[in-house]
């Protein structure tokens, strides 16, 4: 029988390799970890194929919580159960967490220096622009459905402008939006 026939073999993945591979992903992710996670999972280690990765990602985005942490949880679970999830998520967060705390302590130490505070303000202004751009890029997927544009505007006005509590806005808006989506399905 040819190796190309039948389903591909399930890769053998240990808890240890989950931890180490996600540790590397965490360390490489300047400006977004997701592309690096994809590179590791699909291209380098081939733990998932392209379709599987897209499925894992869409489930991660569908559920609450940081997407990349959810990816680690799902991949860890798939190969090693609960211990695998913990190993992958821990590996992912360990170095970035240590690094950002170190950075914050250094910043606190040198915060009296005007240039340091100025640099921080500059970064903050640019980073705000990145979040706005992210929203507009995400908005491309909904621009053909007027009801979706309407829901996005209501969410923006309620949370961004009127600063209403998220819990109540979601409690009202998510059922409404899912109902519109159900009604419009086809």
């Amino acid at each position: 029988m040819n190796a190309a026939d039948g389903p591909p073999p399930i890769p053998h993945v240990t808890t240890r390799s989950l931890f180490i591979e996600f540790l590397k992903v965490g360390m490489s992710g300047f400006g977004g970890v997701l592309p690096f996670a994809r590179r590791m999972l699909v291209e380098r280690r081939q733990w998932l194929n392209d379709t599987e990765f897209t499925e894992v990602l869409s489930l991660s985005q569908f559920l609450p919580g940081p997407n990349i942490v959810n990816v680690a949880i799902i991949v860890g679970r798939r190969f090693c159960g609960p211990i695998g999830s913990v190993a992958a998520a821990l590996g992912l967060m360990l170095m970035p967490l240590a690094f950002v705390l170190l950075l914050a302590m250094l910043f606190a130490k040198f915060a009296e220096i005007e240039a340091v505070r100025g640099a921080c303000t500059g970064v903050s202004a640019a980073a705000s622009g990145l979040v706005l751009a992210l929203a507009l890029k995400m908005g491309k997927t909904i621009r053909h459905a007027p009801w979706q544009i309407g829901i996005a505007i209501i969410a923006f006005v309620a949370i961004g402008v009127a600063r209403q509590p998220l819990l109540w806005v979601l409690a009202a808006l998510v059922p409404l939006s899912v109902a519109c989506s159900w009604w419009r399905r086809g």
């Binding site: 992710g29 950002v100 829901i151 949370i159 939006s177 989506s181 159900w182």
Partner: protein, 175 residues
Amino acid sequence: MIPPVLFELALQFLVLSLLSIGGANAIIPEIHLRVVDIHHWLTDADFSQMFALAQAAPGPNVLIVSLIGWKAAGVIGALVAMLAMCGPSSALTYYVANVWDRFRDAPLRIAIQRGLEPVTVGLVLSSGYVLTRMTDHGSMAYAITGVTMLLALTTRLHPLWMLAAAAALGALGLV
């Protein structure tokens, strides 16, 4: 004796964890509401500085949560806030992943996903808007926000270059 602030931190982020559809970038206004306006753990200036540091560091953008914990209660606070933020959503993800195959093509599942999309877009836009209002106090800061947004939308330039250029302008006292 465990300081009460740790319990408060844990409680706030345990709830936020399950509300964070669309990830950490979608709930910036709500985090700000809770930690600045209600609990006064940070000032507006602190919040926007912590956001900048989290963006400048490698790693996922949920790191802002650890810096808020750190401001409120030191390194222990950072760990507590981070665990609380990731715990409930991770547990939910674990259990949904178990049953996901059965529901992947269900019409209701697809309707829910299509319904959540515009809510997430509105929330992330709110985050960008609130952050801009909080950070930008002069025309130069607004210009940096606007130019960065346009570059991110129209080019494939790595975001790190934009952050570095903005940091340089800020360090020179131009922002």
